[in-house]
């Protein structure tokens, strides 16, 4: 039962949290900012509209939003939010899920190339390059986690016998993972300093420019998928920070979980407020830093345990 409730919370609340980012940014800018529920309004507005399709596009263009949405949603079914067992879980599900997200990216990219727009091609080229490096960092995290827990599934990582967290036995190593996964979160979800979702010049965009030609419900699906993806990564970081043991009780766990989630989103907001976007040629270095951090941690475990 708790599993379904936490999944329902994830599905419904994911568009709420990006509102926090906007509020934090508005606070730093000394503005009042848009309402907290702004993303819901946007989604409803988009769902009510029709669409305009480019003459250049084929069926791939309409398939892009659908598959990127499906690949973002399915991950939520496998993640133990707030320490509640996920709906589905089995050994080695992480590899499958990260590859499914790869499929989502594949379709987002080819949908962008389908428009025959040079700007979208540019965004697509950047997206595949940067996410390849981010994937390296993610798989290093998996290597490290396998060394620590001997498992390959989200539920075994976070609610198994030896849950991974900052306060656990190998907490020192998890510090690296927290920092690195936060950097991956920024990369994979196109946030500052990798990408600027609020920029107005298409040449400088990565993710936003790839979805320029999508409109109406298609765009709503992309946006909602993006919120789910961000929610998943934020939940990943949250679970690293705090161990959600069953002793706390499901209600308490959920409250703590949502509070830390809000803090993670607020941190994204702070990063966006105090940092500028990197120049494009510096972005790979930034992502490689996240890889180097966890790789260092993984090497430590290989040396220490034997």
């Amino acid at each position: 039962m708790e599993s379904f409730i936490s999944l329902a919370i994830a599905l419904l609340a994911a568009p709420l949290f990006p509102g926090i980012i906007l509020k934090v940014k508005a606070f730093f800018a000394g503005k009042q900012g848009p309402p907290l529920l702004i993303k819901y309004y946007t989604l409803f507005k988009l769902l009510k509209k029709g669409s305009v399709y480019s003459n250049s596009t084929s069926f791939v263009f309409t398939l892009g939003p659908v598959i990127s949405f499906a690949s973002a949603v399915i991950v939520l079914f496998f993640f133990p939010f707030a320490g509640n067992a996920p709906i589905f879980s089995f050994h080695s599900d992480v590899i499958i899920l990260f590859y499914i997200m790869g499929l989502g990216r594949f379709f987002t990219v080819i949908a962008a190339l389908d428009t025959a727009s040079p700007f979208e091609g540019m965004g697509a080229a950047r997206e595949v390059f940067f996410s390849t490096i981010a994937e390296l960092a993610i798989f290093t995290v998996l290597i490290l986690f396998y060394r620590l827990t001997g498992s390959l599934s989200f539920s075994e990582y976070f609610i198994g016998e030896t849950p991974i967290s900052l306060v656990g036995v190998s907490g020192a190593l998890i510090v690296f993972v927290v920092v690195s996964m936060f950097m991956v979160l920024l990369t994979e979800n196109s946030r500052v300093p990798v990408d600027d979702p609020a920029t107005h010049l298409e040449l400088t965009m990565i993710h936003e420019v790839m979805i320029l030609d999508h409109s109406g419900p298609d765009l709503a699906m992309i946006e909602l998928g993006a919120f789910y993806k961000l929610y998943f990564y934020a939940a990943f970081v949250t679970h690293l920070i705090f161990p959600f043991v069953p002793a706390n009780g499901p209600v308490m766990n959920t409250v703590i979980f949502l509070a830390i989630m809000a803090a993670v989103y607020a941190t994204i907001g702070i990063v966006e407020s105090i940092m500028a976007r990197f120049k494009m040629n510096l972005v790979p270095k930034f992502i490689f830093t996240s890889f180097a951090l966890v790789f260092f941690a993984a090497i430590l475990t290989i040396g220490v345990i034997q």
């Binding site: 769902l47 509209k49 029709g50 669409s51 305009v52 480019s54 003459n55 084929s58 791939v60 659908v66 598959i67 949405f69 499906a70 690949s71 949603v73 589905f88 089995f90 050994h91 080695s92 599900d93 590899i95 499958i96 590859y99 499914i100 790869g102 499929l103 990216r105 594949f106 990219v109 080819i110 962008a112 190339l113 389908d114 025959a116 727009s117 040079p118 700007f119 979208e120 091609g121 540019m122 697509a124 080229a125 595949v128 390059f129 390849t132 490096i133 994937e135 390296l136 993610i138 798989f139 290093t140 290597i143 060394r147 001997g150 320029l212 419900p217 298609d218 790979p284 090497i299 034997q306």
Partner: protein, 650 residues
Amino acid sequence: MDIFLLSLLIITIGGIFPLLSYRQFSLMKSGYIAITVAGCVIGLSAITAPLASSQIEHFSQSWLHFLSFNLTLDSLSAFFLVPIFAVCPLAALYSFKYFHKPEESLRTATNYLFFNLLIVTMALVATADNIFSFAIVWELMSLTSFFLVMYEYQKQETRKAGYIYFVFAQTGALCIFAAFALAYSQTGSLDFAAFASMPANMKYIVFLLALAGFGSKAGIFPLHIWLPHAHPAAPSNISAIMSGVMIKMGIYGIIRMFFVLGVDSVIFGQTVLTFGMISGILGIVYALGKQDLKKLLAYSSVENIGVILIGAGVGMMGIAHGNKVMAGFGFAGCLLHVLNHSIFKSLLFLGAGVVLHETGTKQIDQFGGLMKRMPTTGKTFLTGALSISGLPPFNGFISEFLIYYGAFQGLTLNATSAIFSSLAILSLALIGGLAVSCFTKVIGIVFLGEPRSEKATAAKEAGFAMTLPMIIMAATCLAIGLFPAPVVKMVMTALQSSSIPVPETSLVTEITGYLGFATRLFFIFIIVSLLLRKIFYRKKVVDSSTTWGCGFTKGTVRIQYTGTSYSGNVVEFFKPFLMLHTTYSGIKRIFPGKTTYETKVDDIAETTLLEYIISPFLYLLSKFRWIQHGHIQLYIAYIIITIIVLLMFI
């Protein structure tokens, strides 16, 4: 065994038939295809028994009293026969429309003959059981494929490619024969079974020689140089078979060698793994840098050979450590990827063949918008691209997953093996990411967007005979991806009866069950999302217009992103490993004239070979040119002197 030999006989007859009937072009083609397909179906039925059980069949024919031609059909051989008998008939069917010029009837007939001889010799390579028989059929396989590459012999480029292939095939054979000779000198027996009795350090040398020899056939970096030359030169159905099936015979040789040597040292696995990682990463990087569609696919074969070798390396390390799960899953991933690659790579080459056939160009930057003009080819090619990128729910993912699973088991071993395992995992992740980058480029630039040339604008869908094989292959890719359990079980049985330690059946069933469940679940998610989209678009105004040009209103198709610029980031990142040449005329005057900009990616292995090995060698040999003077009397004197010198020694 009798049925197996019967199928080979029928396939040979199928090859001879066109020579007799080449005056009737259509009759020749349909008769040929019918006989070949029948032969392959009989071949498939002959291998079902060895595949499903540990039944081993032998055949022996002695020759000249002391040499015997031995064949053995065990489950490992049977597994490698599956792609041969399953993919070749599809390529033959495809050739019905591909060879469309009646005036070249005799040449097509010859091509058919060599094609079927290639099928037969590949099948014999997979079953040959002693040094003698293996050496013969291996040579025959190289020679028949050489003639297939030379189909368009009047083009200089083709002749060059054929020559390069010939040199590599023969050098590789030289290494293999050296390995065999060394083994024979140690054991005194022609049987592969005797190899296990060699001393351990000798085994490693034999294995290295064999790895070099088989590796040059398989296309391991840096011995892959012939692939990007031979594949574009050969007709597309031939490249499909060479890349999809024939290079796997090199993999078969490596694995068979490993098994007959019966080694327990971890260094074999580490060697294979290292070569696998290098081939995998550099293969896909070069594929990204290439602008010729078939060259790109050839380099992507190098990458997939790398993935296969990573699997084999993981499995070998697992055997050395006595870790059944690691050994079983590593080898299972390796073998399954052999099968999978034979399907999707052939599919991609056939697709590329259709594109070439319809547009008459190979340059990626000349295409565009083909998805609308050739929908079936486009969709099947997209399926192939998704499969080769290792994405769920397609078959490439299943084999890569098994390799991942095996490699993760290796993380709990001692430090060296753990580091090798983590490098294997990271290279697989990197290869996966780069493959996505490479095949989004192919799909995006070739099939999507707007056509970049008139030829691409005029392209039309090919006939049913050409698209049907591709549809079958694409459907197989999806079917294996959604229902992996039976195929994985088949692979595990093949391994078990080759006395490879495999994990308990319950674990395999559990993992593949989950895997199949996840891919099917994801498939359902996609369908639900599609329905959701349908609901959202009920009674909505859907309009069409031009692409948003970001304020630029006079856009032409030439402003589209090109393949070169798309892959520019990644290629530049890997600069130390590839040679990126840029020629830019620059803008000189106030009113600039015509400016040119060109980038070219050169293969570092090829340039190194040319500069540091071939050129000095040629220089050295040129000093001995005075021996060749053209006086026949002196040549006879050479012979006599040689004989006299030899007589003194004997």
